[in-house]
């Protein structure tokens, strides 16, 4: 504990220097989606590798067919091996005119809630990844890291991580650790930390329903010819029952109820489902009868149509009976739901509803399992204790309605669970003008990681 106390003291006394380093990192416009900024992306990777080397990491910029990865290693051999993941690329700052100050000239501002750091990427994800690097620095300056740490920093997260799967496959032995750490998540509120322990999985299916050999005139054929839009509408209408449950056979077979400890915590959370919906102009939860809004978005599986198109969609009218109609479906999965089984059952469900003269084409746009960190896992217990000591209250064991592809990839390709801890706030305006990161998130985020590293280094249970 003496080493942790020393590291925490270093973090407190070196806050200004850490802030200066974050400003230097944010000042490089590492916009991954715009080829004009490829040089800046490279420069950011070099900056990070140099910074990591300065604190004793063996660090290298590794080329990919896209933007490079930064891989760095340090720490005590024989100690638990942790793989930390973050990304150093950022979203474009447009629309520029809505920024109160230039997006790549970071600055500190005072607000009634405290000091905030302003700049593109300051919350997503440069500020967050620096909380971890600064915690490592504090340990290195206090006798060395208590764990074996590998840091993997990606430059393509904002463009869908095209090079990541290949990179993981190629460097499996080097990157495989006992646990992955990811920092791309948020706090429950500005005083309550959170650990994201559940991520929903995803099945993406597109269906094209085809009828006649060509578009028909609805005057000549209307009444006699099958209309694929009607067929598709009937299929969509059948997808949910009157209780809002998904009607695809077997859909709920591998769905498990929430562990009671989490269920109890969620019931006590100061979360107002009505307010959550009101923010987007809604008032009534549209999901399964008898479930809370938090369950609907975090722990229950869903089916939604994300897009539909067929026939004439321009201005005015055209009396066409279209030859085809198409829709894109997404299923959010939880628990042990098997993406392949769900996709197959959905396809059978659609086929069973095709009338004579119609056929369906199916296209998969990807699938991933739900991820869940077992409540009983030792790493989770240690991280919860560490966060309680820093924040003086329990971390929320949060769900996440979306999927974080890297977490699925770590599980699938490297057999690792991921501990997701981040200090972003819902109002950080990530991807929007005037992105900010609370100075308290930055400071207590570093302290939190220092405590987590110390806890994970302690004797294995």
């Amino acid at each position: 504990m003496a080493q942790l106390d020393a590291a925490l003291a270093k973090i407190d006394s070196n806050l200004d220097a850490a802030l200066a380093r974050l400003f230097a990192l944010v000042a490089i416009p590492s916009i991954s989606t715009d080829p004009a900024f490829a040089g800046e992306v490279d420069r950011t990777a070099e900056w990070l590798a140099a910074d990591l080397r300065s604190l004793g990491f063996e660090a290298a910029v590794r080329p990919t067919t896209g933007h490079p990865m930064v891989v760095a290693k340090a720490g005590r051999a024989g100690a638990p091996h942790l793989l930390f993941y973050g990304h150093y690329d950022v979203q474009p700052p447009d629309p520029l005119e809505l920024w109160e100050s230039p997006p790549f000239e970071p600055r500190l501002v005072e607000t009634p809630e405290g000091k905030q750091i302003l700049g593109r990427g300051v919350s997503d994800d440069k500020g967050q990844l620096m909380t971890f690097i600064e915690a490592c620095r504090a340990f290195q300056e206090s006798g060395g890291l208590p764990c074996s740490v590998t840091i993997l920093l990606e430059g393509e997260e904002e463009t869908g991580s095209p090079s990541l799967p290949g990179f993981l496959a190629e460097h499996r032995a080097e990157l495989k650790a006992e646990l992955a750490l990811a920092c791309d998540t948020g706090m429950w509120d500005r005083r309550t930390p959170a650990i994201s322990v559940m991520l929903r999985g995803l099945v993406l299916e597109e269906v094209v329903v085809r009828g006649a050999a060509r578009d028909l005139h609805s005057g000549m054929f209307g009444g006699a010819a099958i209309n694929p839009i009607h067929v598709l509408a009937l299929i969509i209408a059948d997808l949910h029952d009157e209780n809002g449950r998904v009607a695809v056979p077997g859909f709920y077979e591998d769905v498990t109820e929430l562990p009671e400890e989490i269920a109890e915590q969620w019931r006590k959370l100061p979360f107002n489902g009505r307010h959550f919906l009101e923010e987007v102009g809604l008032s009534v939860p549209a999901g399964e009868t008898g479930r809370s809004v938090l369950e609907m978005i975090w722990s229950r599986p869903t089916c939604d149509v994300n897009g539909i198109i067929g026939g004439y969609t321009g201005k005015g009218s055209k009396t066409v009976l279209p030859a085809e109609a198409r829709a894109k479906f997404s299923f959010r999965l939880v628990g042990a739901q098997d993406p392949e089984k769900i996709a197959a059952s959905f396809r059978s469900f659609v086929k069973a509803r095709l009338p004579a003269d119609c056929e369906a084409e199916f296209v998969s746009h990807g699938a991933s399992r739900a991820q869940q960190l077992p409540v009983a896992s030792a790493a989770l217990s240690k991280a919860r204790k560490a966060l309680r000591e820093e924040w003086g209250k329990d971390a929320v064991l949060a769900g996440c309605g979306g999927s974080i592809p890297i977490v699925g990839a770590f599980k699938r390709d490297l057999g690792m669970d991921t501990l997701m801890v981040g200090f972003a706030l819902d109002d950080d305006r990530i991807h929007s003008p005037n992105e900010k990161y609370e100075l308290s998130s930055f400071h207590k985020g570093m302290r939190s990681w220092a405590r987590i590293l110390a806890a994970l280094a302690a004797e294995r249970t």
Copy 2:
């Protein structure tokens, strides 16, 4: 009858001259949709006015805000007054490379079925309107027209007739006749004439269903937020019952059964519903249980979705919960169905199915009543007798699944029924490359109009 015989003899002996006039008319590229051809459209109107003057009509080219109308008058004062309608504009000939000879260099070709005239507009509608003008010429050269005839020729039919309603309103007194004649229709087959006695009406409605205030991420909100695509699909799914009947309340209230004389004729027609569907890749009639395909497309009302769009419709996937979804609906009306009543009932039907948090916006894209020429009308009896004498068999009293706006306008604005007789064939390739008109359609079409004019001029019944 002596005068009719003289006129028929003139038609037979002057066929080559009539053909030469048709060639001259087809040679002028009166493409109404392309501003580059505006001069040619004008030239066509002038050509027609001059031709009509040459056979004794008082004829003028009347300007509109678009392309001009040709209005011509001749005939015996005190005799029944008939208004003949045709259009002299044509569709663009594209794709040009698919034409076997230049589209505006008409020519006669021999085929196993007989001689055909080739050229853009030869069937739609220049050949058809010339059958009437040539019949008038034959009478003028045989002692004069037996009726009072006004000819109205339009140059904007292929672009939706934008100037026509205003022109009819402005010249109501001049154009109002006892009966309108229109030639823009077809024969049952190459040996059987047809009179189109029923046109379905139309109600065009667009519905926008709106949910949340903005597009939502399906990971963050999926399960809790209402999806307007689902709502729209449920509405569409409810529109038809299990027997294929439209479920909008009151929809069938003003639908009348087919007059028995027509029903009996249709039952005997050599029409193969299965073959009709097979031509477009279908095999099973999709309409009301217990109705024949001819009824479905000619005499029964329908509801179809002509277009639908919502959410993400590009390549791949995007996990969006859209804020809105929209669909375009068309109702084909028959009998005495009231477009306003149907539209109002449809809107109530949609509103009754909107869940909390959704609202609907409605846009009308037009409405028209069904048109029906009473089977018992004297004009219809006379035309049927005239066609029987020319063709040696009964004319089919046909329905038409689509709507012909001019017929509705004549009824609504001038209080006239329209007798629709034309000699086009289904395989005339109108709007397509290598458009043709049978020489027999042209020749016997002129003779048919001569007989109809004589019949309509006879003592009123």
